[in-house]
């Protein structure tokens, strides 16, 4: 049943006000942050007397910032690759199969996404020491990958559950063995889901502070670097770094959203 809630005029105006208040609440800090990055003064705050692009040129010529940015990107890409492969694999194993203990398996699989970041970070740190894993890139990638697997699995499972059984049967019927049927039919069908999940993982990893902080070695990731810079005082350079990161992540997110939607539409017949 699809019953629309009827609103009277007063309620409508009230809801519109709440909505716009929310939008302002979210965007005003972002806009302030962006604006301050163009201020020609070391002190953040109003009034702004003159504008400059110096902070940005500073960022793009600051070797440490650029290096850290690259470091974060590499961590994001490698951890995402691992999450996507492992997550998809688990999804394929779990979906459409009934076996004893499936619910428990499923629950354990989701758990890493639910454990609070600080707790899992400390746990990883202790575990890494026990295993003799040095803090640094490998440890961060490992922690990010484990944390992100559940998101991949859930998204891929949802997509997989909509693949008609007859698709695989038709492929087998026409001469494909199970592996070939997976590669030629299942995998292409999963592409939009895998892509969407990948972008989500990339952003989660790029954005992560707690795990990167606890498991990092001497080289900081971008969020850790920003945190370190903050301790020596707020400077518009940080605003510039943050704005660049914001624009990039937003662009990737929007592109992925559009791509997934188009791919979803194409596969509907």
């Amino acid at each position: 049943m699809n019953r629309r809630v009827e609103l009277n005029r007063g309620n409508r105006i009230f809801l519109a006000c709440v909505y716009w208040a929310f939008v302002l609440y979210v965007f005003v800090p972002l806009i302030l942050m962006i604006v301050m990055g163009f201020k020609d003064s070391k002190f953040i705050g109003f009034p702004i007397r003159s504008w400059t692009l110096d902070w940005y040129t500073g960022v793009f010529s600051d070797a440490e910032v650029l290096y850290t940015f690259g470091y974060s990107v590499v961590i994001a890409i490698l951890s995402t690759l691992i999450s996507v492969i492992v997550g998809t694999w688990i999804a394929v194993l779990l979906e459409g199969r009934k076996f004893w203990g499936r619910a428990v398996t499923f629950g354990l699989m989701v758990l890493p996404a639910l454990v609070p970041g600080i707790i899992s970070a400390i746990a990883f740190r202790i575990y890494a020491r026990m295993l003799g894993i040095e803090p640094g890139m490998g440890a961060i990638i490992w922690a990010h990958a484990v944390h992100n697997v559940p998101f991949v699995t859930l998204v891929v499972m949802a997509r997989l559950s909509t693949l008609p059984k007859s698709q695989i049967e038709a492929a087998r019927d026409l001469g494909a063995d199970p592996l070939m049927a997976f590669m030629r039919i299942t995998l292409p069908y999963l592409v939009p889901a895998i892509l969407g999940a990948s972008v989500f993982c990339l952003l989660l990893s790029f954005d992560d502070f707690v795990r990167s902080f606890f498991l990092g070695g001497y080289e900081p990731t971008l969020p850790v670097l920003i945190f370190a810079m903050l301790r020596s005082g707020m400077s518009p350079e940080i605003n510039a770094i943050a704005t660049v990161a914001l624009v990039l992540t937003a662009a990737i997110g929007i592109w992925a959203e559009r791509f997934t939607r188009r791919a979803n539409k194409e596969s509907q017949t």
Partner: protein, 359 residues
């Protein structure tokens, strides 16, 4: 006798407590158009899926071309299937869909191209090669599914209610097309439907299924005029059912007592024991009307209670005298129908037109 293309040897299949197939045996000769007909849930799809290799029977064997394929996976069988939902691959073009099996067989590019051209022109799909399934109409998709299944030249083609998704008008056209494709290719078609009219128009042979068993197996005419069971008589076409007592045998004919009147029929499923309660079936178009008692083995007197004009013919309902109000229904042409008045009238039929049924 040459050995059959398909030999199904006593297969049974259960799903949990539900029995889908019970000791089913069947032979299919090469080049036959065999239809599996029965109500929904009687095990038609299960049989087809066992032949395709998607299910394994609990007991029994499937022999294809002399080889036991019971435990062979679908990709190893020389059998292809047209799925009920067509199962076209949405991310592949029509051309890629059709050549999927050829590619997997390792055919070289020029051979694939030749086969593709051959099959698309045969099924009138030229010009659609670069379209995606999502850009085709229902009828076109159905043809692509057929082309894809025929492309690898299977020994046996399985079709699971492939016309179910088409509208009534298109259905009739596709039925004729499918039949003519089967004649031209001399392929063995194993067709599943729950639509008795579809089965009658298309098949060389019909296997009627009921509750996981074969109810009757024969030509369309055989099933229609000589049903062996009440189920078949009622499931295929419309019929008059007469319940009476078995009296005995007179030469070729089986004699039955119906409200004190003696009727003669034949028993395609074997002669019942004397005194048994039996049911006989007479098709509507086998009844004739006469002003005076005709010289036929079966004639009963009564009067007409209603006439229904049906276009090409007329349905006439009569109540038979000296019964508890038993009714008979007949099809006659419109002129004959109009000439029937309110006077008492005789309805008569031949003994060959009345089949005594097994229950």
């Amino acid at each position: 006798m040459t050995s059959p293309l398909v030999h199904i040897d006593g297969i049974s299949k259960r799903f949990g407590d539900a029995v889908a197939l019970e000791n089913l045996s069947l032979d299919i000769a090469e080049g036959e158009f065999v239809t599996f007909l029965g109500p929904s849930g009687c095990g038609k799809s299960t049989t087809l899926r066992i032949l395709g290799g998607f299910e394994r029977p609990d007991t029994g064997r499937v022999i294809l071309d002399g080889e036991d394929v019971t435990n062979q996976p679908p990709e190893r069988r020389h059998v292809n299937m047209v799925f009920q939902d067509y199962a076209l691959f949405p991310h592949m073009t029509v051309q890629q869909n059709i050549s999927f099996a050829l590619e997997l067989k390792g055919m070289d590019k020029s051979a694939i191209k030749r086969r593709l051209d051959e099959i698309t022109s045969f099924l009138e799909l030229d010009g659609f090669g670069d379209r995606y399934p999502g850009q085709l109409s229902g009828g076109q998709r159905q043809r692509v599914a057929l082309a894809r299944a025929l492309a690898p030249d299977p020994a046996l083609l399985l079709l699971d209610e492939p016309l179910g998704a088409l509208d009534a008008k298109l259905r009739g056209q596709v039925q004729r097309e499918l039949k003519s494709i089967q004649r031209q290719t001399h392929k063995t078609f194993f067709f599943v439907t729950h639509d008795q009219e579809e089965a009658l128009t298309m098949s060389d042979r019909i296997v009627v299924m009921n509750k996981g068993r074969v109810e009757q197996d024969g030509t369309p005419e055989d099933l229609y005029f000589h049903p062996q069971s009440r189920f078949v008589a009622e499931f295929i076409g419309e019929t008059n059912l007469l319940s009476g007592k078995m009296r005995g045998v007179d030469g070729e004919a089986v004699v039955m007592d119906w409200f004190g009147q003696t009727l003669r029929g034949h028993a395609p499923s074997g002669v019942p024991t004397e005194g048994a309660s039996i049911t006989a079936s007479v098709r509507l178009e086998k009844l004739g009307f006469h002003k005076a008692r005709p010289d036929l083995p079966n004639a009963v007197q009564g009067h007409v209670v209603s006439k229904t004009f049906l276009g090409s013919r007329m349905a006439v309902d009569m109540v038979v005298d000296q019964t508890d109000g038993a009714k008979l229904r007949a099809f006659v042409d419109a002129d004959t129908g109009h000439s029937i008045g309110d006077d008492p009238i005789w309805a008569a039929w031949d003994s060959d037109s009345m089949a005594v049924l097994r229950d």
